[in-house]
Amino acid sequence: MASAQSGTLYRGREGMWSWVAHRISGMAIFLFLLVHVLDTALVRVSPEAYNEVIGHYKTVVFGLGEVALVGAVIFHALNGLRIILVDFWSKGTTHQRKLFWGVVIVWAVLMAGFLPRHLMHMFGA
Amino acid sequence: MQTHNYDVVIIGAGGAGMRAALESSKRARTAVVTKLYPTRSHTGAAQGGMCAALANVEEDNWEWHTYDTVKGGDYLVDQDAAEVMAKEAIDAVLDLEKMGLPFNRTPEGRIDQRRFGGHTREHGEAPVRRSCYAADRTGHMILQTLYQNCVKQQVEFFNEYYVLDVLMTGDPRTDEGVRAAGVVTYELATGEIHVFRAKSIIFASGGFGKIFKTTSNAHTLTGDGPAMAFRRGIPLEDMEFFQFHPTGLAGLGILLSEAARGEGGILRNSEMERFMERYAPTLKDLAPRDVVARAMANEVREGRGAGPKKDYVYLDLTHLEPAHIDAKLPDITEFARTYLGVEPYTDPIPVFPTAHYGMGGIPTNIRGEVLANATDVIPGMYAAGETACVSVHGGNRLGTNSLLDINVFGRRAGIAAAEHAAEVDLPDLPEGVETPTVELLERLRDRPATEDRIANIRTDLQELMDANVQVFRTEETCRTALAGITDLKKRYETVAIQDKGRRYNLDLMEAVELGFLLDLAEIVALGALHRKESRGGHFREDFDTRDDANFLEHTMAYRTLPGEEGAEGTPIRLGTKPVVITRYEPKERTF
């Protein structure tokens, strides 16, 4: 019996890709959250330990990671709201595609606001 | 090989088959054997509606309906059958409603009704609103509703099993006391042969429109039922009567329901003239199909066709409100958009007659029992639907009467088959009943490769039939067709298939189906040659009037016995059967 899974990638549209992104971002945030709680727990060990670990967050690599994380959180949150609208608002399903592009635009705006400031904090004066 | 024992075996799961199954499975152990998943049956393609004199929107009664049916069928209708159908139509519609069919509704919440070609009040005075409908998806809803109820009743289906042979206890042409015994089937998924023993068999295998090239019929409508019945010695009735539906999408044959005209659509020629006013002053665009189809073909012949090749006319809906079109004709307007790129709101749709419905088929009486000849029945054999010829459609079927036919006579056949099964024992089958089928398949499968293809033969057949046995026929064209078919049959004897596998061998099945088509096409052409008159869907240019003195009778085509000589060098012997006339004496048809 042939595998049912073979073949080309399914060419879904906004609905499918937003779901993929939602899933990936959710998973990423969750993993980060696990780590984040652990590192925050270091405040119980000693201020030095905490500050040392948290110091890593202030490096460039982590700074960029932070950007990705914030991007993921914002997307996940906005798209989560879109999903809630699709589920509970009677016109949500009709407008899902518009809602998706709304999410993208709001995401871009928020990121555009956050990025310069964050980078400024990271590298800046 | 596997053997199954049932009381009733139903061949086909279209409207007729499933309506029969709903009755029969309540009363007897029933198997429905179908080459398609039930919901793929072509009943689902029917659009316009199903007539019954419910009188929900205006005065109507079943006698007017009977009259219209008889007149529409050009008096070749068996009037006892037409009465049964028109009378039981009302319950048939109400039954479907109770089963859940979502009919369109009147403001009072009753089943809505609309006009349809040939349906009139007061014996032809004016069009009447008689067709019960669900948008332009009535057939779809009927098929779904029947399937849903089969699921509810847990009817046993054998899906994608091809019935390839029917078994009786003898040969109905020669033996006495012949009765039904079973069917031989081919399981598509495995290539295995299954024999179903049965006390009653119901043919409900649909039409055979694929003998023509331009047709509204599905690829799978290859007349398997009538062809295998014929090969086993059962006669076929009135096969020369084939209906050409006026409004097929030009070049494609996809149907645009008569409901388009029922809702106000108008046929126009290249000069945008409403030409039906000339051919049928009273009913105009809603005259019976044979009249309209011929009028259209005539416009094209006389040079008033539209398009670059001047080979079609227009169906004009542009004067209708888009909202009205969307509510009442959503699917067919979508067909025009999808397949021809025409926007029906603003542009007229190119249409031309398309082969649509075979009035003829396996002869039955009003209980659905199959006839061995003009008088005797074969106990345990039943037929219903397009495959059968009761004959309620005579020379020309009225729109909506087929969905009615499958429900009324499907039900009758189902009940009769189950009742018969309760009274008799399962007949014994000798060893090796499947051998002819196995040999047929092996022959097709094992032939050495050839240049020629099954598809080429089929295309040649369809083009031959379109050119010679379509809306207009003459002695000469019928003879051309017969000679052509003889040649094609020779080619068919040697042609090879390519797929040699066992599982899902549709290549092989198409080859078998072509064999059926060739047999049926020959019967159609021979019948057309011999009926030297014009009546209903059969129009002979060399005999352009109806001739009741000589031809007010059904044609019966029998397969010749070994050694017997057939008509015109074919393996077919022609006979007749009287038409049942109860109260409507034949009159000239005017519309």
């Binding site: - | 998943y37 049956s41 689902g44 393609a45 398009g307 025409v342 598809a455 899902y504 549709l506 290549d507």
Partner: protein, 251 residues
Amino acid sequence: MTAVAEKPQADAGEIPSFEVTMRIARFTPEDDKGVHWEDFTVTMHGTDRVLDALHEIKWHIDGSLTFRRSCAHGVCGSDAMRINGRNRLACKTLLKDLDISKPITVEPIKGLPVEKDLIVDMEPFFDSYREVMPFLVAGGQEPSRERLQSAEQRERFDDTTKCILCAACTSSCPVFWTDGQYFGPAAIVNAHRFIFDSRDDAGEQRLEILNSKEGVWRCRTTFNCTEACPRGIQVTKAIAEVKQAVIRGRV
């Protein structure tokens, strides 16, 4: 008459013929080649559909190419397949609407076991359908005439009556691909058809059936089903309505 002066622009056969390459996922259970791509180049015409191209191949090049089809105009639901990565009916997809400069990929629908070439096993699909009680259950005294239903009540479930059980939706659903137990959009659509029928009395039973582990909650609103449905049914909307009905505990 409004249309007298107008000339329709589209004519069958007007668009010239063209060459197109069909890249088809082949699988024969009787050899050990597994699933593999095969290319066929055919000459097609104006209004030809993908189904016509498949026929051209089957009838004139390779008779063993196997696929289901019947009505050839999008009403029987036989020929759902994955064309250029999306589920469509082959008989409703015009070649000229695809990019014919590249090969057109044709694969069986996803998530159901492939039996041969483009044919999949439909039984799991129909099993789910049968499980949602897809039939009218009307209690009470059987009326002698029809049951009354207002035009608005009839309109309430009109969309979902159009389903032709082609499986394009269910086999486009990412949840169904990974979890074949999920009822799938088609079954929910057909439950919706009865849940919202004013004549029906078994809505609560159906809601119960769909309020299960493999029921409506598995749907993650990816909308692939809605995009795939050849009948234009608002599938995700129907699912959302069923979810709401389950939450409220009634229709």
